[in-house]
């Protein structure tokens, strides 16, 4: 008798537990407007749910006068764990006749970048930052190697005197 009771109890438990799970999926099924979490990606391009802080790509900050703050000190290049950054500098002669190193090309290999933000951390001038771009795929790998300083841009004069402020 005891065995039969236990047997029936088990069968009842099995049915109740299975029905419990069924109820949950039914709840999701009948309330799709509440439960669906998928984003219709290409349709919501205008208002993507990407956080502003998302580290998508390194850029060199330019202001409205087409000036950047990079002094070509190559600290970021050294900090980068996988050589995604190449700072190509050139020697120019200033008006007072001194030789000076200025940035020629800030080459960024997006295809190798791991978005670790070590370069941002290392830059003493806060010249670079990461932006939240997210559609980075392309057909040709070589288009991912970018020169970040815009043509004709030059060093912001004040940048040399302001030391890095800790945020």
């Amino acid at each position: 008798m005891k065995a039969l009771y236990n047997y029936l109890k088990e069968v009842a438990f099995a049915f109740v537990s299975l029905a419990n799970g069924l109820l949950l999926t039914l709840k999701y099924f009948v309330t799709p407007w509440k439960s669906i979490i998928t984003e219709n990606y290409p349709d919501n391009r205008d208002h993507p749910s990407v956080a502003d802080e998302f580290a998508g790509e390194v850029i060199l900050i330019h202001d409205e006068n087409n000036e950047h703050k990079c002094t070509a000190c190559t600290l970021c290049q050294m900090a980068c764990p996988n050589n995604s950054i190449q700072i190509i500098s050139k020697q120019v002669e200033t008006e007072d006749g001194k030789k000076k190193k200025v940035l020629d090309q800030w080459v960024y290999h997006l295809e190798m970048c791991t978005f670790c933000k070590q370069c941002i951390d290392a830059c003493p001038q806060d010249a670079i930052k990461m932006i939240n771009s997210y559609e980075l795929s392309c057909f040709d790998r070589s288009t991912l190697t970018k020169v970040l300083n815009r043509p004709g841009s030059k060093l912001k004069e004040k940048a040399k005197v302001t030391p890095k402020v800790q945020e």
Partner: protein
């Protein structure tokens, strides 16, 4: 010969070898498991590693200490924060760097959130290995909420490189605490759904209870750690045994179960999720203010010597052994990863079981392949 009848026991049967993996839905990565089968019964299990070996340990020897940290996120990508934490701790210990209280608190919050994401993903994939597909999506849904929080505060979703020697990379957003509180509340609701859908499910219970028994002695001799070993009654929570970054001040339970089977491992992980929520809640109410990092020199040099540090990752004891010759680069960096040791448990608990149980065993041990191979 014609008149001889063959009884079933005399029938010549053959064992055959099946390769589960490297590409297989149940191995969650490129693990190859060579299984010898007798019909449906598993006779032998032989895991082959190396399909995702990237030489991380060797790579660190040519990178600086700071630069090596980003590589560790790629070992166990499901607990990237914890891996980063490990490296940061080891370097701090060696270079005697003081870490601000706020950084410590943020680190622990991130670690526990990471543990939650890892266990939620594990819950989904474990249920999927046992045949239920829907939980996989539920697990991902809940993990996604935490990943969004990571994205907002650390900039990345999976491989954060957020915890660095001296603190954390950047401060959390001002709305971090209220958002996290709301999140924890919804995670608790999700937990109820987990129980409704899978924990209470009769089929699931019968697929896991009494299957894959790993005795305490086996767990010790195989070097198992983490929830896998704690489900066999072995107390091995590094957060309790060798507390770091203020775990000693927090109130939480080390979850131990004596069931030794798949069900025990399941229960331990589910309970650990509650404990993680509990830990975060304690820290949230009085998050220390102040600095979030100690500024370090550009190039970090450790004094010559050997250093070992361990943390409790989502899968078990994660350790790093650093040999420094005083230079800017480590002489040797050796990681002790939990999955590699836990993988050893697959064979002893699966032999003699059905092939479906092998999948369940591998699922509840929670293998992350890049963590084994490095």
């Amino acid at each position: 010969m014609e008149n001889q009848t063959v009884t079933p026991s005399e029938l010549k049967t053959e064992e055959f070898v099946v390769n589960i993996g490297p590409q297989h839905p149940a191995t969650h990565g490129v693990l190859r498991v060579e299984v010898t089968l007798d019909g449906e019964t598993v006779k032998d299990v032989l895991p082959h590693l190396g399909y995702i070996h990237r030489g991380i340990e060797k790579m660190t020897e040519s990178l600086g200490y700071k630069q090596s940290i980003f590589l560790t996120s790629r070992m166990d990508y499901l607990s990237a924060h914890i891996n980063n934490h490990l490296c940061a701790l080891a370097i701090e210990k060696a270079a005697q760097i003081e870490v601000p209280a706020r950084a410590k608190a943020i680190r622990i919050i991130m670690d526990e959130l990471q543990r939650l994401t890892s266990h939620e993903l594990w819950w989904g994939s474990c249920a999927m290995d046992i045949g239920a597909v829907t939980p996989f999506f539920l697990g991902f849904r809940d993990r996604e909420r935490i990943l969004e929080l990571f994205e907002q505060n650390t900039g990345n979703r999976l491989t954060m490189s957020y915890i660095i020697p001296g603190g954390v990379m950047n401060d959390v957003r001002p709305d971090f605490v209220p958002k996290l509180k709301a999140l924890l509340k919804s995670i608790k609701d999700y937990r109820k759904e987990y129980d409704q859908l899978i924990t209470g499910n009769y089929i699931f219970q019968h697929r896991t209870q009494g299957i894959g028994v790993l005795s305490k002695e086996q767990a010790i001799s195989l070097g198992c750690t983490g929830p896998t070993a704690r489900a066999s009654g072995l107390s091995c929570d590094i957060r309790k045994l060798y507390p770091y970054d203020g775990y000693e001040k927090l109130d939480f339970k080390e979850v131990i179960d004596y069931g030794c089977d798949n069900w025990a491992r399941y229960v331990v992980r589910m309970e650990e999720m509650s404990q993680s929520i509990h830990i975060i809640e304690q820290l949230l109410d009085n998050l220390p203010t102040g600095d979030y990092r100690t500024k370090l020199k550009g190039v970090l040099k450790l004094p010559a010597g050997e250093y070992y540090q361990r943390v409790e990752s989502a899968r078990g004891e994660l350790g790093v052994y650093i040999v420094s010759d005083g230079g800017a680069k480590p002489y040797r960096m050796k990681f002790r990863t939990p999955c590699y040791s836990n993988l050893g448990a697959v064979k002893p608990i699966s032999v003699g079981m059905k092939i479906a149980d092998l999948m369940a065993n591998m699922a509840t041990i929670d293998l992350v392949i890049p963590d084994m191979d490095r």
